[in-house]
Symmetry: C2
Subunit: 172 residues, 2 copies
DNA sequence: GTCTATATTCTGATAGAC
DNA sequence: GTCTATCAGAATATAGAC
């Protein structure tokens, strides 16, 4: 049986949670350590500085994104539908990592290459299934829009149903 | 002839610029004052504290959004096309205010009512023109997606053209 | 591996001169 | 209206005990 989450994992969980709930300005070492139930010194043992904490979050996103891409290309319902469902779901590890990354990305001097690479790979998967650059692009934008609302903290009822209806009109 | 921008306006410009370029954590009173070419004390004369600076930004967004809604409903090319063009344009006063507001919204305990109200009004205008809730919703999501990419600092070539093509397929 | 104590720098804000 | 000087509190990070 798997061990309970390691302190390192709990620290990353707490970091993402504070980012999601209160934004990057609230995500101080103190706040993250408290949310994870350890002291600041305890946090700094696992992540020697704040940049290391952010790098740890990016690495987690990269791994989750890679797994998601594999699931997307293998999905029996098709990559496009999988992508839309995935973009509306909330609370999953990938969603949380994506929202946290979006809140960190604003201060990245260079563009966040993890996010950029993931977006490019998702587009490629959509294009492979749909065979239509305009449609693939628009599906991705709809998914981005759903994330925009999630990042902004808005609810957006019916988005998935409406997106599916438009997709079926365009394919049919 | 109109006067040069007042110091108050230059401070709001600088605030938005720092938010867009470096994110909310970098938007300190010091950084904003320096970007506007005044001292911190000078800034605090116009905005007695940071909350007042943020309130000033929200008020600017509200006024620009109101003007945009009037232009959108009166646009000869139609509200939907106006909305899509508007969502891709960058550098305009409204775009800058929207991106800055998105970067401030993450730390708002309650949802940002200015952003929420604007989104509701834009949806209403889209629905009035298109008469189709699913289509109006998806067009708004595509616009949101374009903003998501702008907020994340990504370029997204061809988004407008692709969105227009899909829109014309759905209308035709 | 985790904690407490401490050093250092940054941030928001006040007071008062000009 | 704008500036400089200054302060209190917060944020990152280090050192060393346990």
């Amino acid at each position: 049986m798997p061990d309970a989450a390691s302190t390192r994992d709990r620290l990353l969980d707490a970091f993402e949670q504070v980012l999601i709930d209160h934004g990057s300005r609230a995500a101080t070492l103190d706040a993250v350590a408290a949310a994870a139930g350890v002291s600041k010194g305890g946090l700094l043992y696992h992540f020697p500085n704040k940049a290391a904490l952010e790098a740890g979050q990016r690495e987690r996103l990269r791994a989750l994104g890679e797994a998601d891409l594999a699931a997307m290309t293998a999905a029996p319902e098709g990559a496009a539908d999988y992508y839309l469902v995935e973009s509306t779901s909330s609370g999953g590890a990938l969603d949380r990592a994506l929202i946290a990354a979006a809140r960190l990305s604003e201060e990245a001097g260079e563009h966040d290459s993890v996010l950029d690479d993931l977006r490019a790979a998702w587009y490629h998967a959509l294009l492979t299934e749909l065979g239509d650059p305009a449609l693939a692009h628009v599906i991705q934008l709809v998914g981005d829009g759903m994330y925009y609302n999630a990042v902004a903290g808005s609810r957006d009822e019916g988005a998935l149903e409406h997106a599916r209806e438009i997709l079926s009109r365009l394919r049919g």
